[in-house]
């Protein structure tokens, strides 16, 4: 049975699609329509009790939370497609730096790109509401502060967890692209961040996923 990925083409879902592509995995995407409340239907909440997307069904094994799904796919298909999206298990210092970078993304990056997404994407797209530019600008300021620190980290190493591209970099792609579409300029402001961002966002897997999915947010830009 093929891998099934549940969700519409949101930033959380395209993150998982990017890993599937990096790993060269075939999958079927099953749309979950927010406008009809499909994500809160009893059938879907049986799979994902919080009523959020995405959710993965791998031959009957269910897992949710986009970053956990990516981790599962990278671990299960370690020897297929792009290698070392998670550092080798026997190198516990590399693993530690990887988890540090994953946590940095979760707490220093996602927190603020999510603020922008909620205000500038979710409000107009799903609730037909005006966005508040002050909230977006405040989040841009936070993103800028954090990327200033990223610039120092990336002056010493090629990627967020060391000199190898890992999931910790990939996790930035979908939401990073979304906030850039929303008008965030900080990615080009800092030289090392800019070099890193151009490197990871030009990867073939992400380019293909972006081309396939960008129309989803087009109505609000």
């Amino acid at each position: 049975m093929a891998i099934k990925l549940y969700g519409s083409l949101t930033s959380c879902v395209t993150m998982v699609m990017c890993v599937l592509k990096e790993k060269g995995l075939e999958y079927e995407r099953i749309n979950i329509d927010f406008s009809t409340g499909e994500h809160k239907s009893p059938e879907y909440m049986e799979k994902q009790p919080f009523g959020q997307v995405p959710c993965l069904d791998d031959d009957g094994f269910l897992v949710y939370e986009c970053r956990a799904i990516c981790h599962y796919l990278a671990a299960k298909y370690a020897n297929q497609g792009t290698p070392n999206l998670i550092p080798p298990a026997d190198d516990f210092k590399a693993i530690a730096r990887f988890h540090q970078a994953v946590s940095v993304e979760t707490h220093n990056f996602n927190k603020y790109v999510w603020m922008v997404t909620r205000e500038r994407v979710i409000k107009p797209l799903y609730f037909k509401q005006e966005w508040n530019q002050d909230i977006i600008d405040q989040a841009f300021k936070e993103i800028d502060d954090k990327l200033a620190v990223y610039d120092k980290i990336l002056a010493k190493q090629k990627y967020m967890a060391g000199d190898t591209f890992t999931l910790a970099d990939l996790f930035h792609l979908s939401f990073g692209t979304t906030v850039i579409r929303c008008g965030c300029k900080s990615f080009e402001k800092y030289p090392n961040v800019s070099r890193w961002w151009n490197d990871i966002s030009s990867r073939k897997a992400w380019q293909e996923v972006y081309e396939e999915s960008k129309h989803y947010y087009d109505p609000i830009f």
């Binding site: 094994f61 981790h71 671990a75 516990f92």
Partner: protein, 218 residues
């Protein structure tokens, strides 16, 4: 050289503090006082470029982000004390899943409650916003409703063995009762299994020792 744990005993520092005790790893606790700006000194920023606590120095190996530190300690000392990170592929995937539920959703709503009731009034001189407080508390309740279902079928979030995911909830869960103005974690009539789970976790020797520290209630 003994492992050094930097940071005053805030919620984020309690996480690795507890795991070090679980794993019986000797360490030296070095308070870093944020109120005095000790987290913004060049020496500290060289270790932790974001200027946040905690941070560890394990014989020259520097690491930050509380959950990443816990993961490192649990991995390095896998065969000492309880296992804490499941190795099986599917169990590990569920462990990762619950790690993100805790780090993103439980964290956002519990910190939201604490910000309004405690951090903003006490540390930042801002009045509590009752509307925001209620919103966060309601959302937290909805998250804990899912926990209740899971914990009615198994002892802990990933299965019948305790993992890091359970322990990582402890600091914010404790603070909700101590300073958040809510008994949401202890309320046996509303969510008996969540209350049982929280009680078991807080009864662990490691956590009792964290709470016995002079600034454990800060």
């Amino acid at each position: 050289m003994v492992l050094k744990l930097y940071g005053n005993l805030t919620a984020a520092v309690m996480r690795p503090y507890c795991v070090l005790l679980e794993k019986n790893v000797p360490f030296e606790h070095i308070p870093i006082d944020i109120d005095k700006g000790e987290n913004r000194t060049p020496e500290y920023l060289a270790k932790q470029p974001f200027g946040l606590i905690p941070c560890i120095d394990d014989d020259g190996f520097i690491l930050y982000e509380s959950r990443a530190i816990c993961h490192y300690i649990a991995t390095k000392y896998a065969h000492q004390g309880p296992e804490l990170i499941p190795q099986d592929l599917q169990k590990n995937a569920l462990y990762q899943q619950w790690s993100f539920v805790e780090a993103l959703h439980f964290e956002e709503e519990s910190v939201g409650v604490l910000l309004e009731e405690y951090y903003n009034p006490v540390y930042f001189g801002q009045e509590k916003n009752p509307k925001l407080y209620d919103e966060h508390l309601t959302k937290l309740g909805k998250i804990l409703d899912i926990y209740e279902t899971v914990l009615s079928q198994q002892k802990y979030l990933v299965g019948d063995e305790v993992t890091l995911v359970d322990l990582n909830h402890l600091p914010n869960a404790m603070l909700l009762g101590a300073h958040g103005g809510t008994n949401i974690m202890q309320d046996e009539s509303t969510r008996p299994h969540v209350a049982r789970w929280f009680k078991e976790l807080t009864s662990r020797d490691s956590w009792k020792e964290v709470m016995a520290q002079p600034s454990g209630e800060e």
